[in-house]
Symmetry: D2
Subunit: 138 residues, 4 copies
Amino acid sequence: MKKYAFEYIMEVRDYECDLQGIVNNANYQHYLEHTRHKFLEAHNVSFADLHNRGIDAVVARVSIDYKNSLKPGDKFASRLNLVKDGIKYTFFQDIYRLPDEKVCIKARIDSVTIINGRLGICQELEDLVEKIAAEIAE
Amino acid sequence: MKKYAFEYIMEVRDYECDLQGIVNNANYQHYLEHTRHKFLEAHNVSFADLHNRGIDAVVARVSIDYKNSLKPGDKFASRLNLVKDGIKYTFFQDIYRLPDEKVCIKARIDSVTIINGRLGICQELEDLVEKIAAEIAE
Amino acid sequence: MKKYAFEYIMEVRDYECDLQGIVNNANYQHYLEHTRHKFLEAHNVSFADLHNRGIDAVVARVSIDYKNSLKPGDKFASRLNLVKDGIKYTFFQDIYRLPDEKVCIKARIDSVTIINGRLGICQELEDLVEKIAAEIAE
Amino acid sequence: MKKYAFEYIMEVRDYECDLQGIVNNANYQHYLEHTRHKFLEAHNVSFADLHNRGIDAVVARVSIDYKNSLKPGDKFASRLNLVKDGIKYTFFQDIYRLPDEKVCIKARIDSVTIINGRLGICQELEDLVEKIAAEIAE
């Protein structure tokens, strides 16, 4: 069984660092969001297209443990797993510095789907969760 | 007994909104950080000065419940309470839309103090926590 | 004759500063954009509403002279004038640190109006330019 | 003779887009800054290291022509040339959408070097300009 369904490699950009000389806390949420959207894209689901069709995946809850700071020049692997829990899609997202695999953050993001203003079910995301569950179980 | 030790009024800037037309999730962390720094400033503690003296208040854990989205033009009250828990300073931070007081996010931020690279105690923050506890209890 | 049609007071937020400990260059464009939108709002024109009606004011050209850096804690006045030049609306926008009135940036922003995908004339903006011209001439 | 000394491939991240559904103007300055820093890195010069040694390359003037907007999902090439003009290092930086090579922005960035608070000459940057001039002339 695999631990992560998706991995995306990124690197710190200097403008993402604040006066402490490390990546500003808020920017990790940008990394996590971008990773989720790249994951969707890898499965032919576009966040922007969904929005244009009246389907918005929205975050209901975020919890992030900040373990080690990323610094200018650091490369990192942003890894993700996705499970369904009732009407919630829960993403487990961890960021590891490369190449030493030091854990930087561990995050859990609970999201729901709003269709034309109401909680709803998006079939593309349902199919995706099933596909991921099958892949992870391999 | 008061519920919050500090309140800061802000308003949404259009560039903080993303293609969904609402404030991007990561930007709430900016609002929360800025509120903490204004709170410190109101008590004559400067985050930037602390950093320049080798004292960094760093976030160890963030959890945010996203209840209602802020939109372009919205004004909001960012309210904060602070308690000490061992070596952790825990901020309870809630954002309410104005003037209808609809809750937008409820957050808990656990932070610690790093002095010259190691976990440490910052006397200014210790004094502040005591002062706040006394004020809140009034 | 007045030099500026509008003034908006802001202050530096720590997260807007980068590892050099000063406001990151790109963030001045955020300050300038927000000032333009507050200026429109002061004249009952909403950037977001215009967008929702298919009218987008877009920037065609930006030039910014960076004179003095803003630092954490600095307050500043963001001042603006607006003139029309053919199909272009040209904003002259200067930022001064407070209270010493040291000039921080001097900027010129040329913008045009896109209506349903094509260059067009937005009557609200036309009326606004005339009103401003009359006020400035006083 | 080559037209550009450096090219860096990037792609739009959804959070960089604003409520108009296109990349926010300020974010192009982030793209340009990151490209300059990657260019320096490719020549073994680190912007963050320079800062830590008291040498800050600072932007004195930016002018950007916005030609075509980047949208969610777009890939782009950020290309750069560098020439010296007195004490100024002038970067010519253009961004092209991929794969159709449509020009998005054309920018000119004038920068100077501040060493321990005063205008100064950084030998690493001097050497780099000479090396680039030789490469471009090939």
